[in-house]
């Protein structure tokens, strides 16, 4: 692979590592560190979602299901055994008697997310367009409903608490970089290229012998596994979880982050998630009255009560109206000064 191709990977990785390293420094307040952690987990979910939606061009409302099963699998299996009778009273005996450590729980989350996604994909990937979107949404509805009521596999309608908060700056950064590398390697692999070809021109791709449904199936399963892993990171970051946390709001927020960044590129997924998270943190500060110029502008702190949600939603709507293809325009990361040179050279070589 050419150097310019690796720059596409190194750009996002460098940005995420910088966020993690700076966020972990001692001058950053604990509240701010928690915001940085949440931002990194958001990037993890959005990049996992991108692996399917970005490469296939098919929208999915169902990926938060895989985040949810990953998060609950990792969470339920790391709650100390002695606390399980109070936190998850109805659990199956096998699940109630056993707990695992941090790393095995993340592996478990990945496997559970991947297997669930694969099982869902086998029937659903025959669909396309709006029917596919609605069917994936139906999967989310079923997952939410079952997780929220079936107390043999989780807390049901209760809140899962006392999950060890092992997603610190190191685990969040390493985790999200791992997901980005997996996404990059996939989209550069023959499988990723076939799927992207099918996204651009289904008829031509099929004429070239690409089995679109099979490519989508594997992308969906990989994406689901990564979502499960990101769910594991999420539950170990938050320490508590209820089904409502991994349902509609998270689905719309992550999809909006992806589209705001630019749905067609890995860089877009990273930029979108970071930009929306940063805006959210900034507006939270403005609500608390700790941003000088906002106080000057309004003559008072922009006091809470959900005003920052207005700001975030308005930002997303405005970006989409002014830049329908997102902040990055669906392009990968390039070094600004060398970009044009590399591109022309690359094209003439090809």
């Amino acid at each position: 692979m050419k150097l310019a191709r690796w720059v596409e990977l190194l750009g996002p990785v460098a940005v995420l590592v910088a966020v993690g390293v700076v966020g972990g420094m001692s001058f950053v307040s604990p509240d701010r560190q928690a915001e940085v952690l949440r931002a990194l987990v958001s990037v993890a979910i959005v990049v996992s979602l991108y692996v399917f939606v970005g490469n296939s061009g098919v929208i999915s409302f169902g990926h938060v299901s895989f985040v949810a099963v990953g998060a609950f699998a990792a969470g339920v299996m790391t709650v100390p055994v002695s606390l399980k009778p109070t936190i998850t009273p109805g659990l199956f005996g096998l699940l109630a008697r056993r707990s695992v450590g941090n790393v095995p729980s993340l592996v478990l989350a990945t496997v559970v997310g991947g297997i669930f996604a694969l099982l869902v994909a086998i029937p659903l990937m025959r669909l396309s367009g709006l029917a596919a979107g609605i069917a994936t949404f139906a999967v989310l509805g079923v997952t939410h409903n079952v997780l929220g009521n079936w107390t043999k596999i989780g807390p049901g309608p209760l809140t899962l608490t006392t999950v060890p908060q092992t997603t610190g700056m190191l685990q969040a950064t390493v985790g999200v970089v791992g997901i980005v590398i997996a996404a990059f390697l996939y989209q550069r692999s023959r499988f990723g290229r076939r799927l992207r070809a099918a996204r651009e021109d289904p008829a031509a791709a099929r004429a070239a012998g690409i089995d679109i449904h099979r490519e989508r199936l594997w992308a969906f399963a990989l994406s689901g596994a990564l979502c499960g892993f990101a769910g594991g990171l999420l539950v170990h970051q938050a320490g508590t979880l209820q089904v409502g946390d991994v349902y509609l709001d998270l689905t719309f927020l992550t999809l909006a982050m992806l589209v705001v960044g630019g749905v067609g590129s890995l860089w877009g997924a990273v930029v979108g998630a970071l930009a929306v998270s940063a805006l959210d943190s900034f507006l939270l500060d403005a609500e608390n009255g700790s941003v000088g110029f906002v106080n000057d502008l309004l003559g008072r702190p922009a006091r809470g009560g959900g005003r920052r949600l207005v700001g975030v939603a308005a930002f997303m709507a405005i970006v989409l109206i002014l830049l329908p293809s997102g902040l990055t325009g669906g392009r990968e990361f390039r070094l600004p000064s060398l970009g044009r040179l590399r591109r022309t050279r690359g094209e003439s070589a090809a």
């Binding site: 029917a131 069917a135 139906a138 079923v142 409903n145 009560g305 207005v310 975030v312 997303m316 709507a317």
Partner: protein, 311 residues
């Protein structure tokens, strides 16, 4: 429906299911109409209903006719603003971008309502007389149930006449079948789209009047008012077949009817998934997945699409 087959309770359940289906059918008409001319799935449709419901809830001390008029004005103005500020700039955007943009609008309106009116619901009954019971042939029916069914049929009938008998209606159908050719033939696309958006808005206002009386959980107006209904109707519309107004409407009705019947007949307890009424949503969504797998182009569409499969 004979008494020998159905007990009174079951007949009552079916009637309630028909009423729920009628409300969903109304919303399906509103969503299907805009999709027809714009190819845009308007996720923010529920927030039009929410705005109308707040307009009604905040004007409960004025005469009811005036209150309903305010509701229509607010919802129509909001629909028009949405068309100008969001739909028009996004005419050439990809379907995904348009859909996500309407999510953003939906969340924007919800968060504005949250800031302005708070999370605590406001009690709303528009016309109290309509929630009273009337006894017909041994059944206890609320007036609103009858009104809902009649209104849904009337709206669909009037709209069908409008689309087949008036010039602008014919233009609308032409634009929805092939918008480029329609424009070449001199149809002013923006005018046609604006009319469709406004009709869709008027239906949302109508739903805002009916919904709080017809569905018991919806007497409290909250920032996420009608969100659940919108999601279910969107699902129903796609299941029915979003390309044509009739199939979209039938899809909305069918899913409302299915929800009503399943919630009436599922037992109220059971520890395994799909065995009790807490798993109502799962049952409905599993049904949706099955229908989509068998007929991805829509349950009520006339024939399968041509041999060339679109992916």
């Amino acid at each position: 429906m004979t008494a020998a087959v159905f007990s009174t309770v079951q007949a009552q359940t079916l009637l309630d299911a028909v009423a729920l289906g009628s409300i969903y059918a109304l919303m399906a008409i509103g969503i299907g109409l805009v999709f027809g001319v714009l190819r845009l799935v308007n996720f923010a449709y529920g927030q039009l209903v929410m705005a109308g419901a707040y307009a009604l809830a905040l004007t409960q001390n004025v005469p009811v006719v005036l209150s309903i008029a305010v509701c229509f004005v607010v919802v129509l103005a909001l629909s028009f603003a949405m068309e100008l500020a969001v739909f028009r700039p996004l005419r050439r955007a990809s379907p995904t971008t348009m859909l996500v943009a309407t999510f953003a609008v939906s969340y924007l309106l919800q968060s504005i309502a949250l800031v302005r009116f708070g999370a605590i619901g406001r009690f709303l009954v528009v016309i109290p007389q309509l929630t009273e019971l009337v006894t017909i042939g041994g059944f206890h029916i609320r007036w609103i149930t009858i009104v809902t069914i009649v209104v849904a049929i009337a709206v669909f009938g009037v709209l069908t006449l409008f689309l087949t008998r008036t010039s602008i209606g014919l233009q609308m159908r032409a634009a929805s079948i092939d918008s480029d050719t329609a424009r070449l033939l001199g149809i002013r696309a923006n005018a046609v789209i604006t009319v469709a958006v406004l009709i869709s808005g008027a239906i949302a206002a109508l739903v805002a009047v009916i919904l709080p009386m017809a569905v018991p959980e919806r007497v409290l107006v909250t920032p996420d008012y009608a969100l659940r209904e919108t999601i279910i109707v969107l699902v129903g519309v796609v299941v029915g077949g979003i390309d044509r107004l009739l199939s979209a409407t039938l899809g909305g009705f069918a899913i409302g009817f299915a929800v009503g019947v399943l919630s009436g007949f599922l037992p109220s307890s059971g520890s395994w998934p799909f065995t009790s009424s807490v798993y109502l949503d799962s049952a409905v969504f599993m049904l949706v997945i099955l229908v989509l797998l068998v007929r991805p182009e829509g349950l009520f569409t006339r024939s399968r699409r041509s041999a060339v499969e679109r992916v």
